[in-house]
Amino acid sequence: MRSLAEYIRLYFIIETQYIKARMQYRADFIISSIGMFFSSLATLGVFWVILESVPDLAGWTLMEMIFIYAFYMIAISPMQILFDHAWNIRFHVQQGTFLKYYFRPLNMMFYYMSEMFDLKGLTQLFVGIALLIYASTQLHLDWTLLRVLLLFITVFSAALVQISIIVAASCAAFWVVNSYPVLGLAWKLREFSPYPMSIFDGAFRFAFTYVIPIGFVAFYPSQLFLRPEEVSPLVYFSPLVGIGLFAITYWIWTKGVNSYTGTGS
């Protein structure tokens, strides 16, 4: 077993090389970043247009929605930047190139995911941070040291929730080869996480809280900062949700990797 420090060092070495290689296509990087910028703001645009016509969305004002949205953008960035290779599992599985990941003395998930570092995802992260700062000054939020610490913890666990959902969906490739439809569905669900969960009821609210807990990606943790006095006790469990979900996903991944026998080509 290698130590965590060793893995971090390795990760930096791998990604430096990767970024150097990518930087040969500078124009592509710039255009992709612009594309990322627009695509990550689309849903916010919808909220903005809606809030031009009505004063608030289930009691949430535009500025509060911007805060939740900014939290969402930051929380999904680690998935976008570090786990983008999840989308390609189906190709590797189909073409048999997935076999090579079995032959290194490294953690397989680490080795596989380290092969890609999505630079354009950084745009999303930076826009998210900028929006979070903007919204919190407009809302006069009081950032004590404790609050900042809480922000890091909640973002960390929210990011784990998002990573788990996407990686688990991509693991479908080990059983059905073409995991694109499953991933597409998971990707679509991702877009609903900045919606105020209070607009839902019945099955939808239950599903978004307990089954595929996208509520924990942005809306529930944001409440801790926007309206700490209204927070339901459930929200304090959000760090556990992230870690628990990732453990399940890792278990699925291990199962998938062990059951993969190649496509025979």
């Binding site: 592509d28 627009f38 247009v49 031009e52 016509s53 004063p55 073409n178």
Partner: protein
């Protein structure tokens, strides 16, 4: 023209192979319908009509928008980019076929399979589970024509973007940017009526509203009559012709820079 029909049939047959995928797409659409239902329900707590639209009209617009989205999104850009990058395009140049028409028919095949496998089931879910009411009117008769014109416009834009691959290594950024611009500015996510007036006035002059807003209005408020719908259809026809010809012109230019490394 008859030579191109087998192409549409072939893509239709290929599409049938991926039945497993349709289930998830339909499931995704149903979840989207549910989310949209709750979202707009909470918006309509303020009043019965917002910007001249009732809840039923808006939900019909948004829900059907998601159902026809899959029809009008052609992926022609990704396909052409792949063909150019891999050099496969050379095989088309040796055949007596028109590349633009070839692609149009290939996408028409996918349109048909998506119509039967995704759009119609989604529409049934809207009517039978969400109890959306469709009022009779002349707009319903014009809807199929309008949808076909919308497809032509959408295809021409995608095809045009795909041709950029003649000049650039990757088109991810351009494609995604195009997709977002089309989706938001066409009124695919929210009826154009909801946009601030100044923005609305600009949007009506752009081709994007002819892709989603026009056909969706024909279903949402079919009783508006021919004096309203005929000009809308004419605008669609005009955009369809302009963009088709523009893409053609661009192809004739772009094909000159093509260099394929042997292999």
């Amino acid at each position: 023209m008859r030579a191109y029909f087998p192409i549409a049939r072939a893509t239709y047959m290929i599409g049938i192979v991926y039945r497993f995928g349709f289930l998830f797409t339909i499931l995704g659409n149903i979840v989207y319908l549910g989310v949209a239902y709750y979202l707009w329900k909470s918006i309509y707590t303020y009043s019965d009509t917002i910007r001249g639209l009732t809840f039923n009209e808006t939900f019909l617009y948004v829900g059907l928008g998601s159902a026809i989205f899959i029809l009008l999104k052609t992926y022609a850009d990704w396909f052409i980019h792949y063909e150019i990058r891999e050099g496969n395009i050379a095989t088309y140049l040796t055949k007596p076929i028109d590349y633009q028409i070839y692609n149009l028919f290939a996408n028409l095949g996918s349109l048909l399979i998506n119509l039967t496998a995704i759009t119609l089931p989604t529409a049934f879910v809207m009517i039978f589970i969400f109890h959306v009411r469709v009022t009779p009117g002349v707009g319903l008769l014009l809807f199929p024509i309008s949808l076909l014109l919308a497809f032509l416009i959408s295809f021409s834009i995608d095809y045009f973007i795909g041709l950029l691959a003649f000049y650039s290594e990757s088109i991810w950024g351009v494609s995604i940017t195009k997709e977002i611009i089309v989706t938001v500015l066409s009124g695919a996510l929210i009826p154009l009526q909801f946009f601030p007036d100044a923005i609305q006035n600009v949007l009506y002059w752009l081709p994007f509203q002819a892709i989603y807003h026009t056909p969706l209005m024909m279903i949402t408020r079919p009783g508006q009559g021919l004096p309203v719908f005929l000009p809308m259809l004419l605008v669609q026809v005009a955009w369809a012709i302009i963009l088709f010809l523009l893409a053609r012109l661009f192809y004739n230019q772009a094909i000159k820079v093509l260099r394929i490394a042997g292999g």
